[in-house]
Each structure stands twice: as structure tokens, then as C-alpha cells.
Amino acid sequence: MATRTVVEGVGVARRKRLSETYIGAWLMTTDHKKIGIMYIVTAFFFFLVGGTEALLIRTQLAVPNGKVLSPEQYDQVFTMHGTTMIFLFVMPMLVGLGNYIVPLMIGARDMAFPRLNAFGYWIVLFGGLFLTSSFLFGQAPDAGWFSYAPLTELTTNCGPTAVECNAGLNMDFWALGILLLGISSISGALNFVVTILKLRAPGMTVNRMPLFTWMTLITSFLLLFAIPSLTAAAVLLLLDRHLGTHFYQAGFGGDPLLWQHLFWSFGHPEVYILILPAFGIISEVVPVFSRKPIFGYTFVAWSGVAIGFLSFTVWAHHMFAVGLPLIAQAFFATSTTLIAIPTAVKIFNWVATTWQGKLSLRPPMLFALGFIAMFLIGGLNGVALAVVPFDYQMTDSYFVVSHLHYVLFGGTAFGVFAALYYWFPKMSGRMLGERLGQLQFWLMLIGVNLTFFPMHILGLLGMPRRQYTYPANLGWNELNLLATIGAFTLAVAMLVFIWNVIVSLRSGKEAGGDPWDAFTLEWDTTSPPQPYNFLVVPTVRSRRPFFDKKNPEIADWKTPVH
């Protein structure tokens, strides 16, 4: 009874309103911190879903002529693995981290549009559940995460206007799910752009913004310009499937390549959307655990801008093998090689930041250093794929699978865990366990290399992507088995993390406001922060405002560069 009533005075009590209950407060919240936590928890749930799908794939491929999954089931599982990991794990996780941290970092009380922020979250949750529920109907999307036409054109319209008849809703789930998630991405991106441009604390010029904020801003612009292309592609697909149009059907005057151009015009900026916030995370963690300001702040910030612009000029490197004119292939090969330069600039700057720094190898720094090493491998094999003749051989092989997983798992996922270890104390008021963090890191480092390095060789030996099994006499057996062992090693690492979170929330060491002796404004609050963040909005005079407050004698604003 005490939890359901509110006492308003002597002898006066009433039932609690929904907003006054614990669940109601979360359902109706517009607080960026609560929304950030909901994004992070939801994204982690979908990470486990996508991870389970990955384990099913690896179990099927562990031995030749595997019988764990049928070909149809395999198609659904690998499609949903890619779709879930990209749209329901990485994107919401990065948005969640941005949601929680960016307003605190810039000295704001909340995002510019709090209700739009909440709306973006609920769309992700409902859209994710909608997409995943397709398994319950036995009709999960099954044409790969990039859903190439005309495979996706199979419709319910039997007769002379249809290529074939198929009563499946598989691709309708995918197209509608993508449309929903696109709405969330656009609303979130708009919110971040306005928040970062208009709500920064007094004195925080763009040249003094934290680099995580910079990368979030660039990512938001990428979303605003890239998502419409995907939306257009998905709408045209739905029109082809249900209203008898022929945008992607060559036999009726359409062009399947139209899908590829529209999709990859979104798809390539999308991969930078997936990595840029991780670059920002590393740019926050490495300086704090090197006890130095970042080396070359301006270069790191503006190389992100360069990546943003260049990301719209490289899309057809996913299409080298479709028969593009030679001049187009030459252009896209050049632009793809060029985009490696600003990325390399960042790596040099992070390494230079650690040079002669007082390194502290706590878990956030371990994951950050792991990111740099693993992303370097992914970047190098990516540049190899920019060489057109090499790509002719390697496209749609396991070499590409290796590349994308080194950059997305070795890169973004390591960045995400660096962020979680770094900012979990701020969000919860408790430290995550150090020893368990170190164990998780080493399991992940071993796991990611064991899983994905053999795939370089599998690709070079000719193993194609999206094959549900393989014969025993092609020399692929041992490498596939190694990759499967690596995948299960990664699964153990995730269990370690989950255990760490549970134990730390219950009885972790109290964090205090500033457990890392960090530099930026989010640490100048309690842990967790008050609902309103800052009672008095701080004034900023350098790139490390909290460092200045703690060390007024050697404040950054006293040296000319700041």
C-alpha cells in the first residue's frame, strides 16, 4: 500500500499517478541520462541477440557439411545477425552513450528537444522488437543485411508482372523495420546537431569542444544526409513488392544496380557513422590515461570532418565487381585510398598522445589500446580492398568478412567497452571490477583474433560469404573450426562482462564524482549526476575545463594555444 499511495496531508492520501511510480517515471522520462541508459541497455540486449545469431552461424560452419541449420534458416540468421548488430546494437549504443555524456560534456542541462529524444528511443525499442519478431512468424529477413535486388523482389503478386511468386513477408519486415529505425536516427541526429551547436556552456567554442562531442556532431550530419538514401531505397522496394512498380527489375526496364547505388550511398557513410563516435571515445580515454592533453587536437577534430565529407565519395567500392566503367572504378579506388589518410592521422595522434605519457593500464585504457591495434588491422586490409584487381578476387569472400569484423568488432566494440568502463562509474556511482575487466579484455583480444584472422586466409583460399556449408576437401576445415572456437571465446568474454556489471551494481566500489582524475565537464558532477546536471552552468576557458578547475595554477587557459 505504501508504494501505491501518496500522503498529501494529515489523513489525506491518494493513489500514485503513473508518473509518480518507478516504471511510470521511466516510461515518461525526457531526461537525457535516463534515455541514454535505456538506449544502452536495449542495445546491449540486441548485442546478445546478434551474438547468439553469430554463434549459430559459427556452429553451423564449425565443421564441413554442417546440419545445425537448414539453408533457409541460415539465410535468416546471417541476415538478422548483420541487421541486428548494425541497426540495433552499434547505432543505439553510440546514440545512448552520446545521449548520456554529450550534454554533460558541453555543460548543458539536457538535449535541445527532450521529448524528441525520448521518441527516438521508443521507436528503436518498438522497431527492434518488430524486426526480431519476424523469427516468431518464421519469416525473418533472409536476403543479407544489404538486401540486394532483385533477390528481394519476390512478391505475392503472381502473374505476368511478377518475377516469381513467394508469399513471404521476410523483406517487408526488413524494409519496414529499416524505415522505423531511420525515423529514430533522423530525430536523434537533429537533436544532437541543435544541442551541440546551441547549448554549449559559455566560453566553449567549437575549438574547445571535447572530441567525443566533435565526432558525435559529425556523425549526426552524416546520418542526416545518408538515411534519406536508405529510406528512398526501402520505399521503392516496397512499391516494387506490393504495388507492381519495377524500379529494380531489369526485365521491365528497371535496374538492380539502382538498389546498390542507393543502398551504398547510405551504406558507406553508415560505416563511418558506426566508427566516428568510437574515435571520439578513444580521443577522450587515451589522454586521461596518459595524463596528457591529446596530441594534435585540431588535426583529430578536422580529420573527422574530412572523413565525413569523403565518406560520401567512396560508395561504389562496394560495387567494383558489377561492371562499372573503368573511369568510375579508378575514381572510387582513388577516393577510397584517400579516405585512409585522415583515419591514419588519428591513429598517429593517439599514439603520439601516449608517447612520454604516464600510462595507466586500467580497463578503459586497455580497451582503447586494443581498439587502436585491431582497427589498424581492419584499416590495412580495407586499403588492400581499395585496389581494384585485388577486390575483383576478394569481393564477397571471407576476406571482406574479416575486414568488416576487424573494424566493427575490433574497432567499434572495443571502443564501446572502453566507454562503458570509463563512464559506468559516472552513470551508476560504482566502479566496474578491475580484474574482471582485465579478464574480459584479454578474452576479447584473443577471441577477436582467433575468430577473424583465419578469415583472411579463408577468403584468399576462395571461401565465399553467405554459404551455409562447405565440402570437406577444400582445405577450409581447420580455419573454420578455429574461427568457431574464437567466437565462443568472445561469448565467454561477454558473460564475464555481464557478471562484472551485476556484481558491481550490487557491491562495487563507490566511484565518487571523478574516479579517473579526468579533464572534461561531465566529471564535475556527482555520480550519478543530479537530474538537472548543473545548478550553475560553468564557464569554459580551455579544452580541459575540469582540469583547469582542479589545477588553477597550471590551467590550460594560461598557455597561449588554448
Partner: protein, 76 residues
């Protein structure tokens, strides 16, 4: 007695300061709203209706429009 009287203004001033800090905190705390979740649910109903049945889609459209109007009219 005179001590009590002299203490009263400072206690009252302290109470005023504490209240105004609480009042400030309340005025800058994030406000609750149910329109975001309602609008999100309405859009889902509309899109599910696109696939399942036009009647469900029409219900979804009506709910979406109602949610947008409710959102716009909400006092903040």
C-alpha cells in the same frame, strides 16, 4: 528572548535560500511526458497495418495524428 528574535531573521533567510534552491532545482529538472511513447506506439501500429491489414493501418494513422496533436498542445 532577544537572542531568539535575532536568530529568527537569519533562520528565515536560511529557509528562504534553501527553498529558492529547491525551487530552482524543480524548475530546471527534466519534465515528464507520455506523448513520445504514445507517438512511437502509434507509428508502429500504422506500419504493422501496412503489412497486415488496411483497417489496422487506418487506426494507426488516426492514433499518429492524435499523438502529434497531443504533443503539440502539451504545456511545458
Amino acid at each position: 528572548m532577544s537572542e531568539e528574535l535575532s536568530q529568527r531573521p537569519s533562520r528565515q533567510a536560511g529557509k528562504k535560500e534553501k527553498m529558492s534552491k529547491e525551487a530552482i532545482e524543480q524548475s530546471i529538472e527534466p519534465q515528464l511526458s507520455y506523448w513520445p511513447i504514445v507517438l512511437a506506439a502509434a507509428i508502429i501500429v500504422m506500419l504493422i497495418g501496412l503489412v497486415i491489414h488496411p483497417i489496422i493501418m487506418i487506426i494507426g494513422v488516426v492514433l499518429t495524428v492524435a499523438a502529434i496533436i497531443g504533443w503539440g498542445l502539451e504545456r511545458r
